[in-house]
Amino acid sequence: MLTTFKKSILGGAALLMAAGVFASAQATEISGAGATFPYPVYAKWAEAYEAKTGVKMNYQSIGSGGGIKQIKASTVDFGASDAPLTKEELDEAGLVQWPMIMGGVVPVVNIKGIKGGDVKLSGAVLADIYLGKITKWDDKAIADLNPDLKLPSEAISVVERSDGSGTTFNFTNYLAAVSPEWKDSIGVNKSVQWPVGVGGKGNEGVASYTKQIDGSIGYVEYAYALQNDLAYTQMKNKDGEFVSPTAASFAAAAANADWANAPGYYLILGNQPGAKSWPITAASFILVHKSQDNAKTAKDVLDFFDWSFKNGSDIADKLDYVSMPESVVDMVEKTWTADVKGSDGKKIW
């Protein structure tokens, strides 16, 4: 009796397992990990793509550095990073990189009675605030940029990212571009030795600190500024014009980007010329292996990004990201054909 019972349980289990294997063979799944900055738009794309094709895209927003680590360890099908790898780093790790989406990093302030766009800052002043050289909101340097605005004599509380982040990379890259002192004493990285201020974890950490601390200034990805209703600042760009952060000003900065002459698509969009360009615009990148063991999965991954390039701009617009222009998409897909190969050397795209 007992043995028959056991057998039937085992048989049932075996059947269930077989069914499971069968089901997973049916549903295609691709996985990626990395930057948090583009996570909202990747998630929406994945949702729309799954509804259309049944292919499920799993994206873990663990941060750019994490994404690079994971793709190097081949635990995911693609990695995502806000800080591009250089051509040498790509070659060393056997990776292909391309820009996928663009957006903006926005300084946000919390001063009583100040609304979004009221405060105008220049790169040099922003750098001096983050260096701890400008400590009061009524400092002459700020007043000179805002002749019509009466700012309180309140201490500036600087808020920065405590975790390593592509947003910090793009922000410090911009500060280094406009302030020689920043470049020499602090430098550019995903995390740096901040001379002043408190650190919040993630975009949401910086947003909530900025919201809570009177007289604070922080920097977040644009979508977080909108969602949290934070007062963004206007920035003086390279051409000396004041611009507000909008999808249009990000796109203006992106339009000047010379992707064709950037080896391995290593290009940072900070401090671009153009009267309407937002100065802290950033691209986010995708990384895949050059040599693919599983050609089918590789094709699935490229299919997803191809679909997103061609059909994803509405979703991106809604979330205030900027899609890559068509010319760049063509270039990227040519790179896929040339560089992404199966382990047998066959083309995948």
């Binding site: 030795q193 919040g200 974890k201 809570q212 601390i213 604070s216």
Partner: protein, 312 residues
């Protein structure tokens, strides 16, 4: 087929099984220690002891100094104990010696429930509720009244952000109170009623009974409870990360932002892509391991000495 025939083999098997499980724990400890030591080598080789005495933490130049994190870990834990231990002691005494059952029961249950709240909830509460109140009410007052005092003033000087080392210490205190209280209450109830009754019979006051009978009887348990709280305060990660302000700087002010060992690891580990950076974080982990070990060892020694003195 009788049970007796079956038993010797079963006993040996059971012995071997439990022995194996215990050895597994030892093995695990050794493996973790080995991982930490191996992971620490790169940064210790390149920087040597300056890792522990420098306060420079700079991922750009790949130079790491752990002094601020080490000191601030200790400071937050000490603040937590200074606030948490007397409060827990008071609650435990009240629950075991003074409170009527209809109060002791619900309060006891509430304490156990507080102990079960995940630390991230304390972190969120600390950030969204406690920190703003603390900043606007207490810090504005300390800034106006304590900061101008010459020698001790700098300890309290900081913009009223509500986020910082003291806030982290207070949140930690709130978190360890349920643990220490629950354990103290349990050891206090082990005091034989006859001892206490005799003391009351001799005309002792409540305080004298607690001070002369309960505490000496429960010395080991009480120290154990405090150490448990200290261990938790040293290692607590998420709640501290939320409210400490995460900055690798030594500051004279306990109101200013800081970073503990565990909050630094939580913040930076995923994004530490340079070899030295991740090694520096592993070394921080090793340091915390050693600190916790020292705390436990000191507690043991302390207990031994107490035992000798009391002649047991």
């Amino acid at each position: 087929m009788s049970v007796k025939q079956f038993r010797p083999g079963f006993d040996r098997g059971f012995h071997n099984l439990t022995f194996g499980l215990s050895m597994f724990v030892l093995l695990l400890l050794v493996a973790i220690l080995a991982f930490l030591v191996m992971g620490s080598l790169p940064v210790l080789k390149s920087q040597g002891l300056s890792f522990f005495i420098s306060s420079d933490w700079n991922p750009v130049t790949d130079v790491y100094g752990a002094l601020p994190a080490i000191i601030q870990t200790l400071i937050t834990a000490i603040i937590a104990l200074v606030i948490g231990v007397p409060v827990s002691f008071g609650i435990a005494v009240f629950l075991t010696e003074l409170a009527p059952v209809w109060v002791a029961r619900p309060v006891g249950v509430a304490i156990e429930m507080l102990a079960a709240i995940p630390s991230i909830i304390y972190g969120m509460w600390g950030l969204f509720v406690f920190a703003p109140t603390f900043g606007t009410v207490i810090q504005r007052w300390t800034m106006a009244n304590l900061a101008p005092i010459p020698v001790i003033g700098p300890v309290f000087a900081s913009p009223p952000m509500g986020i910082g080392i003291l806030t982290a210490g207070i949140i930690l205190a709130i978190m360890i109170v349920p643990f220490i209280t629950a354990m103290m209450r349990d050891v206090f109830t082990t005091v034989p009623a006859v001892l206490k009754e005799s003391a009351y019979g001799l005309g002792c006051t409540r305080w004298e009974v607690v001070h002369r009978i309960v505490l000496p009887y429960c010395r080991a348990g009480t120290v154990g409870a405090v150490m448990l709280g200290l261990g938790r305060a040293l290692g607590e990660t998420m709640a501290v990360t939320f409210v400490i302000g995460n900055s690798h700087r030594l500051s004279a002010s306990i109101m200013g932002p800081g970073a503990t060992i565990s909050s630094s690891i939580a913040n930076e580990f995923v994004e530490a892509d340079s070899k030295l950076h991740s090694s520096a974080l592993v070394t921080l982990g090793l340091t915390l391991f050693v600190i916790t070990f020292i705390v436990l060892a000191v507690a043991r020694l302390f207990l031994l000495r107490l035992k000798k003195q009391s002649g047991h």
